[in-house]
């Protein structure tokens, strides 16, 4: 399976577009109070920017941007931010998820405003990390990385994977252009 299309134009345009996608994703998250948008949409766009880099230059190189190991912790942290915002107010005598009980000393509507923002950020982090993690799980790690010098490949298929050409080598007919 070819993991990505090894092409300079694709990589460059993805690199050019990604910061704008991420900026717009943050805008969608933080401007959700005033316009359509919010955590789910912004998180999905953030994940889209990560996946665009993964698809254009490959998962291995994209580790510099968003590591494979950050996916599951990220989704846990996002969910816990939401849950924690709801639970903090319980300790101050309010109902679960009643943001008016946040201990910040502001008028009640502003506390609710901030509570909504905290919750949206949690949702955005969870969605972005989870979608990226699902992609990484589906693609899997590079087979050669599993076997590199650690164990001798005895199975015929495994030997094929280890000895075969580099993973991301473009197909011959698409090579020159």
């Amino acid at each position: 399976m070819r993991e990505y299309y090894d092409d300079r134009i694709v990589a460059l345009s993805a690199r050019l577009v990604t910061p704008f996608i991420q900026l717009f994703a943050l805008y969608v998250v933080f401007h959700g109070h005033y316009s359509p948008g919010g955590g789910f949409q912004g998180g999905a766009m953030l994940a889209a920017s990560f996946l665009l880099i993964r698809l254009s230059i490959g998962t291995e190189a994209a580790q510099l941007q968003f590591r494979r190991t950050w996916g599951t912790p990220g989704s846990s942290i996002g969910t816990l931010v939401f849950l924690g915002t709801g639970l903090v107010v319980v300790f101050f005598g309010f109902n679960f998820l009643d943001y008016a009980g946040l201990p910040l000393g502001l008028p009640e509507p502003e506390l609710r405003n901030l509570g909504i923002l905290a919750v949206e950020i949690g949702v955005a982090v969870a969605v972005a990390a989870t979608l990226t993690a699902i992609y990484d799980d589906l693609v899997g790690e590079r087979p050669a990385a599993h076997h590199a010098g650690v164990e001798q490949a005895t199975d015929l298929e495994e030997a094929d994977q280890v000895e075969g050409p580099a993973w991301h080598e473009p197909a011959p007919e698409a090579g020159d252009g």
Binding site: G32, P36, T72, F82, E110, R112, G115, V119, V123, A133
Partner: protein, 98 residues
């Protein structure tokens, strides 16, 4: 069999289109959803949200207020579903490649 399924689906689509023609206009103030009262006589939830969303949370987008504040528990459930999906993918897919 295939023809029967097609006929049933077309009949169902016709029924739905017939129903759509009799819906009240979108956002009409005298539509049942906007005039109904709950069993204890208070205005229904949607009316309350529309009237009080800005005063309660100082947020002009009442969809956000409904989603994250009034119905925050529902959104927490949605986030948990996303989280569970990610964990399920990790458990199933990562294990199979060892």
């Amino acid at each position: 069999m295939r023809r029967l399924v097609l006929v049933v689906l077309l009949a169902f689509a016709g029924l739905l289109l017939y129903g759509i023609g009799h819906l009240p206009e979108r956002g009409a103030p005298d539509a049942p959803v906007n005039t109904a009262e709950s069993v204890v006589g208070s205005p229904n939830a949607a009316t309350y949200y529309i009237e009080n969303a800005y005063q309660d949370a100082e947020t002009p987008n009442m969809v956000t207020v409904t989603l994250a504040d009034y119905r925050g528990f529902d959104t927490l459930g949605e986030t948990t579903v996303i989280f569970a999906a990610g964990i399920a993918c990790a458990l199933i897919l990562r294990g199979s490649r060892e």
